[in-house]
């Protein structure tokens, strides 16, 4: 067990986590980032980022994240490769346990674990992977030129892929699932007017089928749709399990509930970035990371005055 008590421990090293680390360490807080995978989070998957301020010609996701890592560690934030498997709230101290058997303690915590891709888990999905089942519209869209496809999912990325695929495919079925779209995305209004796009809402897919390649999907209302490809674009917050013991509240979809200061319902635990489901943009994640760190620092100062 680490004997050290950190002022701030950040779980996750995407744009939110690294921004929080930068803010906390720059103000001389003893700061640790725990990351189970590669430092940089899902932003590493971004081929080219054109909407992050300060880079008018764009920058690759990996390059941007490398710079964020450099900037955070420059002020003394430590980064350790550790997968957090448990969080306990002991009042003024928060304890974290990791898969390698490590224990860490901190006065405040920032959860910035992002979202990860999720499978649909229906009959035929595994069988037809690469033969009509895809997980990336922009990557595999060209193979479905003038064909009929479905986009399954109700998040920002799914909406983006509906739009991208409608430019090349003959017809796109938008199937957000029974939960519907996670937000009232402004694009949806004009996508609904596109004659190539048909919204099939309030239903879930139960089966993907065909002979050698995908030929149809079955829905739970008994409908069958003939098509050539199914793009499964689902995201989910993967941290719900580790938050339960600490009593951190999430919504039904696992999104961490946080207020305008990024505070959760537990004193001293903050959340930032995609796991709060407030935008899924690098720039919003960094904003939340900064806010979480500033408020975590305030909280740590208040503890010291006790």
């Amino acid at each position: 067990m680490s004997e050290e008590t950190y002022d701030v421990i950040i779980v996750g090293s995407g744009p939110a986590g690294l921004t929080a680390a930068l803010y906390a360490s720059r103000h001389n807080n003893k700061t640790l980032v725990l990351e189970g995978n590669k430092v940089g989070g899902r932003a590493l998957e971004a081929h080219w980022v054109e909407n992050y301020p300060g880079f008018p010609d764009g920058i690759s996701g990996p390059d941007l994240m490398k710079l964020m890592e450099e900037q955070a560690t420059k002020f003394g934030a430590e980064i350790k490769q550790e997968t957090v498997i448990g969080i306990s709230d002991l009042g003024d101290l928060k304890m974290l346990s990791t898969r390698s058997g490590g224990f860490y303690q901190a006065k405040s915590l920032i959860i910035a674990t992002g979202v990860s891709r999720k499978s649909l888990s229906v009959k035929g999905e595994g069988e037809f992977k690469g033969r009509g089942v895809s997980y990336c519209g922009v990557c595999d869209g060209p193979f479905f030129r003038d064909k009929t496809v479905a986009v399954v999912g109700g998040g920002h990325e799914a909406v983006h892929d509906i739009e991208v695929l409608s430019e090349t495919s003959n017809k796109v079925y938008a199937i957000p699932g029974k939960k519907g779209f996670s937000e009232e995305y402004p694009e949806i209004e004009y996508l609904r007017k596109d004659p190539k796009i048909e919204f099939v809402e309030g239903v879930n897919i139960t089966e993907i089928g065909g002979e050698d390649f995908v030929e149809y999907v079955k829905l739970d209302d008994g409908q069958e749709i003939k098509l050539d490809g199914v793009f499964i674009i689902l995201e989910h917050v993967s941290t719900s399990g580790i938050l339960t013991d600490a009593g951190v509240s999430t919504d039904a979809g696992g999104c961490i509930l946080s207020d305008k200061d990024q505070k959760t319902n537990v004193n001293g635990i903050f959340a930032a970035g995609d796991c709060c489901c407030k935008g899924l943009q690098i720039v919003t994640a960094t904003g939340m990371g900064a806010s979480a760190a500033l408020n975590a620092m305030k909280y740590v100062k208040q503890l010291a005055r006790k």
Binding site: K129, G132, V138, D140, F213
Partner: protein
């Protein structure tokens, strides 16, 4: 020598990982060569569609799709090639 092709797209987040695996295989197997096919070019997409490629990254050995769509491992690559 076998004809080995890695189909990729410049916007595919997983394709660089597939390339890393092939480069690792290449480092362990001197003389191994493969061709990269960009599916965002007209020529590349035509070649892919002629082989019924439907997802990238995709490893094709002697015109036969061996691995299609991420993820795959270095062991998968070794099996596919050998």
């Amino acid at each position: 020598m076998k004809r080995i092709e890695l189909f990729y797209s410049p916007v595919c987040p997983f394709c660089p990982h597939a390339r890393e695996l092939l480069e690792k295989y290449k480092a362990d197997n001197p003389g191994f060569e493969y061709t990269e096919v960009d599916t965002y070019t007209e020529e590349g997409i035509k070649r892919g569609m002629s082989l019924e490629v439907m997802a990238v990254p995709c490893l094709v050995v002697e015109d036969e799709i061996k691995l299609s769509g991420w993820p795959f491992t270095v062991d998968d690559v070794t099996k596919a090639i050998e």
